[in-house]
């Protein structure tokens, strides 16, 4: 007898509580010693994350671009939209599992979650504030916020600074953890049926012929799908490769004169393509971006730092062509040595895409609340539907473990309408050194 849980397009993350045991396939969440997790701090961070008042127009919050319904991205937008409809240069990465990243942003320009969140509020194409003062004024005067800061930090008024705000947001983000995908259940959970034949072939390609694993790392007991390093894989920069020498020197010159990296790369499309170089000034990192996680990637189209590839198939074709999206493109001379034509056949491309689609955590696997599950056939046939668009091609996972874990209760938070799952009797948070 099969059953399928129909889950609304809402996050079922273990949000709002400190996470004791990481889900299958993930290590314990690193928590810095100077910012321990507490339920109150997490709740405060969550509240700030959802608060659109803290922007120039009162219409943009973190949640605008990191929407729980879109696996904490703004899919299907190519690049993010901030105040007054202004667009940036980059695609919003998911915040889910960002807690494991050794640096934040596509170019790693922020070292931690604690500091990352200071930027969006004052970026002209995101929150649009001139500086942090108006935001601090709100959280210092709003009675609910004042009470929360008092409870969490024992601080009030001027004592509340961006440090406390950044810490609270970071604590919330450390609860946005999702593993336990079909891949995890197959590879770590000992369930040979969790992946079908096609997905298993895709996994083999991922490890061997396609060599994806050399950057999107899978380890013996966990898989973050990133090496936390920066590589030029030929996205965006191919088109402007001949302009790079003047662009690079103009950028360095502007930086010497005091230009803000965060603002420049998100507002100047060509400067954005300099990638990691904009942060390090190191010419061996031109056009290099951080290896993103691949968890839940089927839910976060379009892809790459500039959102230039619409589907996972296009991504795989880009790699298959050795670092260019069209046969007629020219690879750029700064390309990573690890990117070479792969010689994958059409069926192999399909297999690899199928594998990438098996990296979706149960929290993000379902489509909408109205989805009715196909009944009957649980046979795990290779899907004929490839996910062209984030909405399309939802796979039948009816024979897979349902989203809910035993011993969890579902709560509806009245304010936001979000679902949260609280594991029963969650113990005190554990702190790992960083």
């Amino acid at each position: 007898m099969k059953f399928r849980l129909s889950i609304g397009a809402m996050a079922l993350l273990v949000a709002g509580v400190p996470l004791a045991n990481p889900p299958l396939g993930l290590p314990p969440v690193p928590v810095p010693a100077d910012n321990p997790q507490t339920p109150e701090k997490i709740a405060l961070g969550e509240r700030i994350f959802h608060d659109k008042r803290l922007s120039a127009t009162g219409e943009v919050g973190c949640v605008s671009c990191h929407d729980p319904a879109m696996a904490f991205t703004d899919s299907p937008k190519r690049v993010s939209v901030g105040v007054n409809g202004l667009t940036g240069t980059r695609n919003a990465p998911t915040v889910v599992n960002a807690a494991y990243m050794k640096s934040q942003f596509w170019d790693g320009r922020e070292p931690s979650l604690e500091t990352q969140s200071h930027q969006p509020f004052v970026n002209p194409v995101e929150g649009g504030l001139e500086n942090h003062a108006p935001l601090l004024a709100v959280v210092r005067s709003d009675p609910d916020y004042a009470a929360a800061f008092q409870r969490v930090y024992g601080k009030a008024g001027e004592q509340i600074t961006m440090t406390e705000i950044g810490q609270a947001i970071a604590s919330f983000e450390r609860t946005l953890i999702a593993g336990n995908s079909p891949f995890d259940r197959y590879h770590y959970g000992g369930d040979p049926r969790a992946l079908n034949d096609q997905e298993r072939r895709g996994f083999d390609l991922y490890l061997n012929k396609a060599r994806c694993v050399s950057c999107h790392v899978i380890e013996q007991d966990q898989a973050l799908f990133t090496d936390n390093a920066f590589h030029n894989v030929g996205v965006g920069i191919n088109q402007i490769q001949d302009e790079i020498p003047p662009l690079a020197s103009a950028f360095l010159e502007a930086k010497r004169r005091g230009a803000d990296v965060d603002k420049t790369v998100l507002t100047d499309p060509k400067a954005s393509e300099l990638g990691r170089f904009a942060v390090t000034d190191d010419i061996s990192t031109v056009g290099a971006f951080k290896t993103p996680t691949l968890r839940n990637v089927a839910r976060t189209a379009p892809y790459m730092h500039d959102g230039s590839l619409d589907t996972l198939r296009e991504v795989v074709i880009h790699y298959n062509l050795g670092g260019k999206s069209q046969e007629s493109d020219r690879v750029n001379p700064y390309l990573s040595g690890g990117i070479r034509p792969l010689d994958l056949s059409e069926p192999e491309i399909d297999d690899l895409v199928a594998f990438l689609e098996a990296l979706t955590s149960p929290e993000f696997a379902a489509t909408t609340a109205t989805t009715t599950s196909p009944t009957g056939d649980e046979d795990h046939e290779p899907s004929t539907v490839t996910a062209q668009l984030p909405e399309a091609g939802e796979r039948d996972r009816s024979d897979r473990p349902a989203a809910a874990e035993p011993g969890a209760v579902e709560l509806r938070q009245p304010e936001s309408g979000l679902h949260f799952r609280l594991p029963l009797g969650f113990p005190h948070p554990t702190h790992q050194g960083d």
């Binding site: 360095l252 001379p333 700064y334 040595g337 690890g338």
Partner: protein
């Protein structure tokens, strides 16, 4: 090449330390020059054994220029030597040029022969240097180290002492060399020796890292490499700053930390800016 073109400030020229080919073939030399062609700077070449021992440098000379030469630039006298010559009777003993080339291209081959600058070129060097004031900074580019490190791999120049004697009267002498694919530096009298990194052929991982038997000679200290999954790790190139009349090498090391080896006027020798003190060094890997 692309990275070098981005340097700021721009270098005045590029020095290429030799071994543009593997087995001295025309198509290899052509291919190497094609790879170098995006460089936007004048390039001075030294000759390596891989370029030489097939046709004794004939095609290389035709495509690139003389095997040894000198020039002056902004008050520095530059000399480029062919330091990979060897005895005539060894050169002439092979049934075919490719036999000769293959033997010289191998390591630890008892049939090999040591590199040398030779009488003729040393005489040319003596006369070239006679015109130069002893206070002029001198930079010598050669393929092999003009010092004796390890003979089996020709980290070695047989007549190194005689060449050094010609350089000794000058106040500031820097020898730059290729061939070794690793960072080496040394001071002999007033002569500083610095090696270039290679953009290809990284040294193998230590046995403990590779989890496979090593066939390196026992004398060789394996190179510490950051990460066995980074294929460009242990390759690199360097920006040479010669402003002071002494060299400072800024090594750009792919997928690894960059390093700087610069002459320290106080101690009178080249020093690594990060790893010079004994307690700052990374011990050789002894376990996986």
């Amino acid at each position: 090449m692309a990275e070098t073109n981005l340097l700021s400030p721009k270098p005045d020229f590029v020095l290429y330390g030799g071994d543009i080919a593997q087995l001295g073939l025309k198509e290899e030399i052509d291919h190497g020059l094609e790879l170098l062609s995006p460089l936007r700077y004048k390039t001075y070449h030294a000759l390596g054994e891989h370029d030489y021992y097939l046709d004794l440098g004939e095609y290389w000379e035709r495509r690139i220029g003389p095997q040894y030469y000198s020039f002056d630039h902004k008050g520095v006298h530059f000399v480029v030597l062919n330091s990979i010559l060897t005895h005539d009777d060894w050169i002439n003993k092979w049934p075919t040029p490719m036999d000769r080339m293959m033997t010289m291209a191998g390591l630890d081959n008892p049939e090999g022969s040591p590199f040398m600058v030779g009488d003729k070129q040393r005489e040319w060097l003596r006369r070239d240097l006679a015109k130069v004031a002893k206070t002029t900074p001198l930079v010598v580019l050669s393929h092999s180290p003009l010092q004796k490190i390890f003979r089996n791999w020709n980290f070695w120049t047989e007549d190194a002492e005689q060449v050094q004697a010609l350089l000794a009267p000058f106040e500031r002498v820097s020898v730059l060399y290729g061939h070794v694919h690793q960072i080496q530096y040394n001071q002999i009298g007033n002569i500083s020796f610095n090696s270039a990194m290679a953009t290809a052929w990284p040294w193998p991982y230590p046995e403990t890292y590779a989890q496979a038997p090593s066939h390196l000679p026992v004398l060789t200290v394996p190179m510490n490499r950051a990460d066995p999954f980074q294929e460009r790790d242990a390759t690199g190139w360097q920006f040479v700053d010669i402003h002071s009349g002494r060299v400072a090498l800024n090594y750009s090391l792919n997928d690894n930390g960059n390093r700087v080896v610069a002459y320290n006027a106080a101690t009178g020798q080249p020093e690594d800016q990060g790893f010079q003190p004994a307690d700052a060094r990374i011990p050789p890997q002894t376990h996986y």
